[in-house]
């Protein structure tokens, strides 16, 4: 009986798609997951943040960055971290696209002359133009727009 249970469980596992095509659950796989952020469940007690890949497979997201990732619902992201008991604990992330277009992500800084810049994770800064009244120094945001960078669309990730 016990053997049959284990076999059944193994069969079900085999039938269940992996959490992500790049899931680290598979030996040798890269420690990242990629896909679209979605906030699923029912409010207020049953809410989860997942990343859904292009064929609908989902990975549940946890860890200290989940509040930021939750604000990216609908965006395409790549998360790095580790899988722990079925939950992906994200240690860092990148936004691949919002509404199909690339973004710049960073922390808003105000220069001595009062102008706003975006300091990216790699240390580079990008000048922000347009819609700057929507930002304040210290916010983590993403922005989209032509020329470095005329803000057309944007989102606040960490207020």
């Amino acid at each position: 009986m016990r053997l049959s249970l284990v076999l059944l469980a193994a069969t079900l596992m085999a039938c269940t798609p992996p959490a992500s095509s790049s899931s680290p659950q598979r030996a040798g796989g890269p420690p990242s997951v990629a896909g679209t952020v979605r906030v699923v469940g029912s409010a207020p007690m049953n809410v989860q943040v997942i990343v859904e890949d292009s064929v609908g497979r989902s990975t549940t997201i946890g860890g200290p960055l989940v509040a930021e990732i939750q604000r990216l619902s609908g965006a395409q992201v790549e998360l790095r971290g580790r899988m722990d008991r079925g939950v992906w604990t994200a240690t860092s992330y990148e936004i691949r696209a919002v509404n199909g277009a690339p973004v710049e992500m960073g922390v808003v800084q105000r220069a001595a002359d009062g102008s706003l810049h975006l300091r990216k994770a790699d240390g580079q800064t990008v000048s922000l133009m347009g819609a700057t009244s929507q930002f304040r120094a210290g916010q983590k945001v993403w922005v989209q727009g032509p020329a470095a960078v005329r803000v057309q669309s944007y989102g606040v990730i960490a207020p």
Binding site: L12, R38, Q48, I50, G74, N99, Q152
Partner: protein, 663 residues
């Protein structure tokens, strides 16, 4: 009327010498502006435009000295003038093109702002441009760069509503827009936006319902997210297979009898850990319900066991049939054909002390998962292993956190709440056990479907039906009125909160009350617009292996974003006495008739509209799925132009605009 972005920018500080003889002298004056400044620190306004300035005199240590007089002056009154010239707040008006320095002086300290006044922006409409001629009720739409300039021929007293819409699949994304217009005047004709103002008779807060009306409270609760459930779905399916094969009969819950005491985990903040076990007494067993009351609930709360039984009967005869007919039957993991309804003070305890808002109940997906691990498949040790949900307990004396919950509140809200939570239960359990879905539905669509469950309950009780354009005379008059109050008033209340600021909310955004109101109204619109009966539409949305926008796209067989844009137009044009196409109508409800009856609408249809003028730009920051409503008129035989930019340049492809001629 000009609409400024309500974000202040702190401008230059000029510090003068301290007057040593004045105690606590002013040493600096901060000047805050109602408009953002450009990269060079200059505030730009058009001729005829205004900007509000606020002076904050500061003393040593940065202390704001509110009692100090302030005088204002302009270095070039031919360009910009200030009015008033004294006081902490003034308004600068652009007179002619040029620049001026505005100075705020308090004692010996000054603060300054550089103001640039620009001639009105050209809308780009010139001889040779294509000018639209719209008939009344006709809607023109354009996308992205093609929407950047719209030129209109005026008819006699013609009026229009300009509706920019952010076609984004990311609800939290925002789109910055600047809308400039030329050759236009005020719109004065109906709808403005009310057609049928009337005395208020409904209080949004009195509706009960399944959710708290306190957004901040909900947000705090959401931050206690439960993340361990989705990985358990394979385990749950394995357990279900074993039960059906008879392998683990001992996991099946015994069917309780009335009077039994059950131990139930009521922890609302943790899924599979830290059980908060409560003892519940089975007070009634009906055909489809097991009604359990927490033995620790406040005593003498005014609801008898027979009333609790009536709640179970209401579930049998109303919520259960309405929900399963439309969404399908739930799972039956405890093999008793019933749903456990637990009235527990644990729900009351979710609301902080002395808080007027409340949570009517909740469903928790953890109870659908097995307690015991199998092989390397995980389990949820604190699961109740039942189809169940949790309900607010009566507490007329405010024993729990000093929040009074009358028996009457419970009576009025319980059936609607049950209908709402039952959809969540059906949705989750069918995704896990019947439909082989990867996980749960997106919150915004899941909540929208639960609010549809409340509306379907209204139709069943009132014996009315969709697409009857139900208005105030029907909805708010006996015998329909009680059903409207019990099952629809909350939906209307949430939709009102969306209409009051449609630019700062989204159908698909984070779970806020305006989003819930909007997605309910959109789902009703979509059900009315598509061909055929409603039931297959609801069933397909619940019984899906996809979620969110892809789910809607599959079921509608079209891009739901297109329908959302049309819906934003219908929000304005429905029941506005305009000869519009059917896709710009909302056939089930006469919102313009009913909404003025709510006390928080000032007896008007509460849609926020903005007056577009030639003298100043309108700055917008639309949320994904959000829209704004800008009204204007064109002089007879005149020509008007509207230019929209984003970040100062041509807008991106996901800006869509609609213009409807209203007069």
């Amino acid at each position: 009327m000009k609409r400024f972005i309500p974000i202040a920018a702190l401008l230059s500080i000029v510090v003068s010498a301290c007057d040593k003889e004045t105690p606590n002298p002013v040493i600096a004056v901060d000047v805050v502006t109602s408009l953002s400044r450009g990269p060079s620190g200059v505030v730009t306004i058009p001729v005829g435009g205004t900007v509000q300035l606020t002076a904050n005199p500061r003393g040593g240590g940065g202390v704001v000295l509110t009692d100090r007089p302030v005088t204002w002056s302009s270095s070039n009154t031919a360009v910009a003038q200030v009015n008033p010239t004294t006081g902490t707040v003034t308004t600068v008006t652009g007179v002619a093109s040029g620049t001026a320095t505005i100075t705020a002086q308090s004692e010996d300290a000054r603060g300054t702002v550089e103001v640039a006044v620009e001639a009105p922006v050209s809308t780009g409409c010139e001889e040779g441009s294509t000018f639209l001629n719209l008939r009344v009720g006709e809607v023109f739409t354009a996308t992205g760069p093609a929407a950047s300039i719209v030129c209109l021929n005026g008819g006699s007293g013609s009026e229009y509503t300009y509706i920019p819409f952010f076609a984004s699949e990311a609800g939290n994304a925002r789109l910055a827009l600047e809308v400039n217009a030329g050759g236009i005047g005020a719109a004065t004709g109906p709808p403005n936006p009310s057609l049928a103002p009337g005395p208020a008779t409904l209080n949004q807060m009195s509706a009960g319902g399944s959710v708290t009306l306190d957004e901040n409270f909900e947000r705090r609760l959401r931050e206690k997210e439960i993340r361990e459930l989705t990985p358990l779905i394979p385990s749950a399916r394995a357990a279900a297979l074993q039960r059906s094969g008879g392998a683990l009969r001992n996991l099946i819950q015994a069917v309780p009898v009335e009077g039994d005491l059950l131990t139930l985990n009521a922890n609302a903040n943790a899924g599979c850990t830290n059980p908060d076990n409560r003892i519940g007494r089975v007070v009634a067993i009906t055909q489809r319900a097991i009604v359990v009351v927490d033995t620790a609930n406040p005593q003498n709360a005014g609801i008898t066991d027979e009333e609790y039984r009536s709640f179970g009967v209401a579930f049998d005869t109303l919520a259960y049939p309405v929900n399963i007919e439309n969404f399908g039957e739930p799972s039956d993991i405890d093999n008793n054909g019933k749903v456990l309804i637990f009235y527990t003070r644990a729900v009351n305890e979710l609301t902080p002390r002395d808080n007027p808002s409340f949570t009517g109940g909740f469903f928790f997906g953890r109870d659908l998962f097995p307690r015991q691990a199998m092989g390397n498949l995980q389990a949820c040790p604190s699961s109740n292993e039942r189809e169940m949900f949790y309900m607010l307990a009566p507490d007329p004396e405010g024993v729990v956190n000093n929040n009074r919950r009358s028996a009457d509140l419970i009576r009025r809200s319980t059936v609607g709440t049950i209908a709402h939570e039952f959809q969540h239960l059906i949705n989750a359990s069918r995704r896990i056990y019947r439909n082989n879905a990867q996980g749960f539905e997106e919150v915004w669509l899941n909540e929208g479907l639960s609010h549809i469950a409340e509306e379907l309950t209204f139709y069943r009780v009132s014996r009315l039906a969709p697409r009857q354009n139900i208005g105030r005379p029907t909805a708010l008059t006996e015998p329909v009125r009680p059903a409207f109050i019990n099952y629809q008033q909350s939906n209307f209340g949430r939709f009102i909160s969306f209409l009051q600021r449609p630019d700062t909310a989204s159908l698909i955004g984070v779970d806020r009350l305006p989003t819930r109101g909007a997605i309910w109204a959109f789902l009703r619109y979509a059900a009315d617009r598509k061909a055929g009966p409603d039931q297959p539409f609801w069933f397909a949305l619940v019984n899906s292996t996809t979620r969110g926008i892809p789910n809607l796209r599959n079921v509608l067989a079209t891009d739901p974003i297109n329908w959302m844009q049309d819906w934003t137009v219908s929000v304005y044009t429905d029941d506005a006495d305009l000869p519009v196409e059917g896709r710009f109508t909302q056939p089930s409800w006469h919102f313009r008739s009913i909404m003025p009856a709510f006390s928080n609408t000032n007896n008007r249809y509460p849609l926020q509209t903005i007056a577009l003028t030639s003298s100043s730009a309108v700055n917008l920051n639309l949320f994904g799925g959000g829209a704004a409503y800008l009204r204007f008129g064109v002089a007879p035989s005149g020509r008007a132009g509207i230019r929209v930019t984003s970040g100062g340049v041509t807008p991106p492809q996901n800006l869509r605009i609609s213009i409807v001629r209203t007069k």
